[in-house]
Subunit: 330 residues, 2 copies
């Protein structure tokens, strides 16, 4: 693999000169430009960006800690983040921890040792880890941005889950639902991320009604687990007429289950999901859901991270609005 020295030798100049034409920094004579360009071409030279960032001590790559690639929410987010970063001349280093807590630390370490400029964590940093991580972070002087809700003061870019819960509650109530069931995320583990649940319940109770809550881990992608929860709900709550799921996958499963049982949607049962994942509008019937503003979330996250890398002061929390999309399941 050709190095800068090979190019220099081939072109009959010094490595510094090669570096100059490569980075278009200083002015070079037309002739050397020619020679170097030719040498680069001839030798198929590709500069070693690892070496470059080593000497420059800076980094145009941002680490992204993802629960998984195959979850449609995170898949879409990864895509948007990547595009937003590229648009601003940054690159992303993705790593996923398969939704497993024990893998998370390793994934985090991975990003740190690759010396990324900062880390966007698409996962709740649970209390214990949070403190340890933050201690570490401060020492390694690496900006950390949470891409999901965390309770205490910490830089974060998050969807307005409170609003999401509120919208869902009002919508179901307005449609006349009175026996409402809600499937939340893991309430024990990720207290912080369940603002949508609290807002939902609060609103329903404020209107003098009640609802029943089931828990289902949000970040898991095990079909069986999800199917089980859905089965259980339909078995235990035959009288329910409104169902609010914490994500569209669960919602899709529920719609499918209801239809298979001959329960009419939305006449007998109204179902509302969360996220407005790519597939949701393709389903039959198209899913009513709370839409995430993927574009804005990722743009904001990248922008904020770049500002953090630049050492600028930033406001702790950026909340991005969600939106109710009424389709055919309510």
């Amino acid at each position: 693999m050709a190095t800068i020295r090979d190019v220099a030798k081939y072109a009959g100049v010094s490595t510094a000169t090669v570096s100059r034409v490569l980075n278009k920094k200083d002015v070079v004579s037309e002739e050397t430009l020619q020679k170097v360009t030719e040498a680069v071409e001839k030798l198929s030279y590709h500069p070693n960006l690892l070496a470059r960032s080593l000497v420059q001590g800076k980094n145009d790559t941002i680490g992204v800690l993802l629960p998984s690639f195959d979850h449609p929410y995170w898949g879409e987010m990864a895509q948007r983040l990547d595009q937003a970063a590229k648009k601003r001349g940054y690159y992303l280093l993705f790593t996923e921890y398969s939704g497993k807590e024990e893998e998370k630390r390793k994934a985090f370490e991975y990003l740190v040792t690759r010396k990324v400029g900062g880390i966007i964590a698409c996962c709740p940093l649970e209390k214990e880890a949070q403190e340890r991580l933050r201690g570490e972070i401060r020492k390694v002087e690496m900006p950390l941005l949470s891409f999901v809700w965390v309770t205490d003061s910490f830089p974060q870019v998050i969807p307005d889950d409170r609003q999401g819960g509120l919208l869902a509650a009002r919508h179901l109530l307005a449609k006349g639902c009175r026996n409402i069931v809600h499937v939340s995320g893991d309430l024990k583990m990720y207290k912080e991320t369940n603002e949508r649940t609290y807002a939902f319940v609060r609103e329903i109770e404020k209107r003098g009604h009640t609802c029943i809550i089931y828990e289902c881990p949000l970040y898991g992608t095990e079909k069986e687990e999800m199917q089980e929860v859905v089965n259980k709900i339909f078995y235990e709550q035959p009288q329910m007429d409104g169902l609010f799921l914490s994500n569209d996958i669960l919602a899709a499963l529920s719609v499918s289950y209801a239809l298979a049982q001959g329960i009419r949607v939305p006449e007998e049962l109204r179902i509302i999901g969360y996220d407005d994942v790519w597939m949701s509008s393709f389903l039959y019937p198209p899913l009513t859901t709370i839409r995430q503003n993927y574009e804005k979330l990722s743009e904001q996250a990248i922008e904020k991270m770049i500002r953090m890398i630049g050492g600028e002061p930033i406001e702790e929390k950026t909340v991005v609005p969600v939106e109710l999309i009424e389709r055919k399941t309510t």
Copy 2:
């Protein structure tokens, strides 16, 4: 950010010794081990893996060139590839080109300049680029593996699309379909990847029937485009009773469209998709489809790539079987 020198100074030893305990290579005295470990802890030291791989001249990361993260097929593949790589002690550097040809070259360049050990290309390398890329690759001495069908001799790990087309054709025929429509990928651009189409058509003609083909770019994720194709088909082919789509997204769209029009599935129209994407079993009705063996595909790709990096000779083509999953749309 602490460096190895800081650790050495803090522990009162040389950098070589620190390196030794970090890499557990040579034997170190119990005492130094203690001191160094403490220093590492104290200073929150994280070795700079970029520097390490620079001096070692080797690399435990494999580049993956992806069309996009948000396409469910590639999302699932990314996940499996990542897990397979980690299991074998390798890391993946992902980049996506948003399905745009002009971005592909940049994405490729990105991986080359990061000096990955090899590249898994999840995209057809069209003729022209293929030759250029291969020329380059040979010079940069970087193994390249195609993860989709390419015509000529070239290391590749691919699904048995021929078999997939065959299975789909036989299934539809066996169910009594006689007015069959098929939506293929982009036939002009990616000739090589359309074995499924050719096998499908061939089988149907062999049985003395015919089918009508529509084209739709496989790697695009623009809803409108896809919706348009589906609309067009249903408008132009009111008599069709069998529909084979090149991917599950198009299939989901078609099912949804049919149901919305009051066309009964599968009684009046049988629909079969391709890939068995995560959502497909969640749909209503659950989708009949050709299942990809995601696990085997990615395991094989990683294994083959590692062998290539190690300089081992490899067989050109690894074909992974597909499977017909009959659910409720046929």
